[in-house]
Subunit: 246 residues, 5 copies
């Protein structure tokens, strides 16, 4: 569980709201339904237009990854792969059949099943690289939903602000309304810019970092499995895999 992300959200919101209080402003002046409807609705709508349905669903689920990224057990996995290589040397590839069935990680499990099937190393690499590439592409598409939202929200905030200013301009005869009208208009800008810079873009970047690390982890597993298929000795495999460790 990655608490830095949650902590970051609190720091950012605390700075904005605390800064407003320090300046003598009322927090209530930052809360406004109209601006919220325009920015959230407009951004959501723009994202819905551009996103295929399954990508949209995956993006909704992937948001959890920012606090609970999928498990990456680097050293543990290195040890497991070395163990597998020893078994395959002693008992042959078929000795890994039960392990392939019980392996909980679907990527490792699929690699192992190809290995047990007796596929040659080149074939395992090719098939799993297609899988890896498609997994990465699908996950990056989902992460880019947040990036796109972070691209749209500031400009939609500006639409909200300009609409507010139009409203103000049409009621210029009542100057007492001027200031507060403009104030209200500006809140849409804050929502748009704030949503992008304090939430959407950081979320997108966090997801990309998580995806990148996961791809690297799967590449390590694939390297290990093909090394087993090539019959390399456990010592060499260990050397290879430790190069992936930070």
């Amino acid at each position: 569980m990655d608490v830095l992300t949650l902590f970051g959200v609190m720091v950012a919101l605390g700075a904005i709201i605390g800064g407003n209080i320090l300046e003598g402003g009322h927090t209530s002046s930052l809360v406004q339904l109209t601006a919220f409807v325009i920015v959230v609705g407009g951004t959501l709508g723009a994202v819905m237009v551009q996103t295929p349905f399954n990508v949209f669903m995956r993006a909704s689920k992937m948001i959890l990854w920012i606090v609970m990224p999928p498990k990456i057990e680097g050293e543990e996995t290195v040890n497991k792969i070395i163990e597998w290589s020893k078994i395959s040397r002693k008992e042959g590839l078929l000795g890994l059949e039960d392990i392939a069935e019980q392996e909980p990680d679907p990527f490792s499990s699929k690699c192992l099943r190809l290995l047990v099937d007796g596929s040659d190393p080149e074939a395992i690499r090719k098939i799993m690289e297609v899988e890896l590439g498609n997994d990465e592409h699908r996950d990056l598409m989902a992460a880019k939903v947040y990036e796109s939202a972070g691209g749209y929200s500031p400009t939609i905030g500006i639409i909200g602000a300009v609409m507010g200013l139009i409203h103000v301009m049409q009621n210029l005869k009542d100057p007492s309304m001027l200031g507060s009208g403009i104030a209200v208009a500006f809140v849409a800008t804050i929502y748009g810019v704030g949503a992008a810079n304090l939430l959407l873009l950081p979320i997108a970047n966090k997801l990309k970092a998580v995806i990148g690390r996961r791809v690297q982890y799967h590449e390590m597993i694939l390297d290990g499995i093909t090394a087993i298929a090539e019959g390399e000795n456990p010592r060499t495999i260990e050397n290879k895999l430790l190069a992936y460790m930070p």
Copy 2:
């Protein structure tokens, strides 16, 4: 049929118009012919200057893809290719001649015809990759028409706004006109920014996602056909193709 896109358009427009009503504005204040002429005409003109005629026509037709993307029948196609590989093992490649004639998808059909002609796997791959690359390039060119339009429309909206402000400034002597004049000028900004962020850029991104998925689908077909040409067994082909499935 991808309803999320249509739904997204409604959400986005609903948020903007609803937000305006919430704020006490008249929807009519967002409707203005001059701004519409400037933004739509200017953007359309800029796009016409830069786009070769055939790309312009393809872009006009491709707009339908955002709600009706070309069919991608992943699993069905995997089954069809495995079926073809079995036929080619039993009856030889010529057994696929009738199937090649009747295959409705032009890409698959062309692959099959090259296969039946007895082209070697490397030749099939080379020829079809040229075709695939050119198809992708042509479609991306068409999608970029919308992306370019989304790049031009906000700045053309600003041209409209500045022209409106010039008009206002020249009539400063009549202050009663000031507010509504500026209001009118701002509508051009909303049209330009809104067209880009709620329609043009999301459409371009949706088209790119559709194109990307289609290219991947065709790559899968090509992988399957070359595997048949190499005489691989149906089990291996299935393993290969399933790696493309999400």
Copy 3:
């Protein structure tokens, strides 16, 4: 001749000027010498600083391509290449000697001369790919002159506007001048943004599209000539080349 480009210029200018008239503005208020001098002179100067002399000259000449792109005779050229492959099968490569001399397209002619000289396919490909890469690089450099100009002109328009505002600010005592002074200042913005978005960037993008298509066309020719050099049969060559057709 590509009329869409000329038509696009008219649509864009018509929208801007028509929009101004609709709004009740005088077209004359959009015509201003000072702004023109600043934007055109500044942009031209910036481009001159950055562009080597021969690239600058090529860019000046290449502007014609936006309405008269170099001829791309796809199908006709496929037929010619197939014809050549038949001649080379009947009469040997020397049978192409006269054709090489008379071929009007310099790229095809150079390929043919290398073929007649008896260069091996790999050598032809290597030499002509260097030529192709250098041609593309040189043309893209020239197209980027317009892209750069489109990057500079909006900010130089802003320089003009700010200079105008400075002038206005120094004469604040005479408020009757205020409005029209600001109006004049804003025209520079319109010139800068308009030149970029309605002319310079679309021209650059059009040139890039033309260049891209021409490179693809030359790649097709090169593929055909190397296939002749490899002695492939006309049927296979036709299959290869048709993959380039849209």
Copy 4:
């Protein structure tokens, strides 16, 4: 120790503060707690949301590199590698065993140990390139923390400014507060833009330059070690390595 960086910070701050004094402003008018809280807190929060914990820690430590970059001893290392190649020719690879143990640079030491183990050149290259790639990726991730911060801080400065303006607008009745209120609001912009352009982005770029140079240095070492493994003569190795020298 790279003093240019420290000197640069002083030049930049001196120019800003000196400029303010020249203009007759009080330096105190540039010091403001609220703006500081909003910009620093908001930027820090956004960065925390997006950065995995270990990357965040590495970025905190890497900041020292901008004045004390890791040692790159080009010529000295070339001489050392040539020395090693001579030893390996005289005493065999095992003659390098003690040197591998004592080598202080971890990258060189790891390369040497693989060499002494008798790994073939291709294996050394593969393993160390994975290590090199992962090192570079990890360091660039850390450098991008500053780049991201430099992307967020200006927009968060704008949030601070807009919040200040809202506050001003709500107190329009007291015009005597107007000017100083706006002045305070603008300080947030200066903090955001200044932090990005005078500190965060230059730091990120400096770190990237340091990382790039270090990667190149490690590539040189790896090239030398694999050349030793291939048994090349010291003269050829020297030629190879000197090509890396500036």
Copy 5:
């Protein structure tokens, strides 16, 4: 000597100053020490923070290249290389020993010395490509110093403008100062934007063009030398090298 660059600087400055005069402004109103200190000092400081010392020195020297680019003698060099290939055919590679010593261009000279040493073509190519890559990287790093400066200066101009506006706002009680105060503030914007768009970015782009052309020229030399090492006949070498000519 490339006069277009100098001419461009004059055109750009002439347009700005001439435009100001046309508008009835005093040239003196564009001259202001404070703005100059802030923009030049701030930009220089930011660049110093990010640039390693040797890159900074190289960038300072490379500025001369914009009017006096390093000599590229295309045709002359082609003739020289063909001459060398003839000598090597008649007298063997050792016949080039004196020529290698006397060759003034360091890149050609180094290639020739490797050739005379009897290195095989693949080794010459590998060593010189490392050299070429490092040269290009080092020069691009230096050119990017100007690009970065062009990225920083507009925003630092904005810092100057905002600081000016703060100063104005704090002295609102004296409205007679208002206009000229704002005017002074705006000059910083003009300096920042002008420095970037009329000098720094065009200089960076010019340097990149010069570097690109030089790399291409060195690639041609390297291609020629490796062709000599491979013992190709002068006719073939000429064909190869002429493909590099524009």
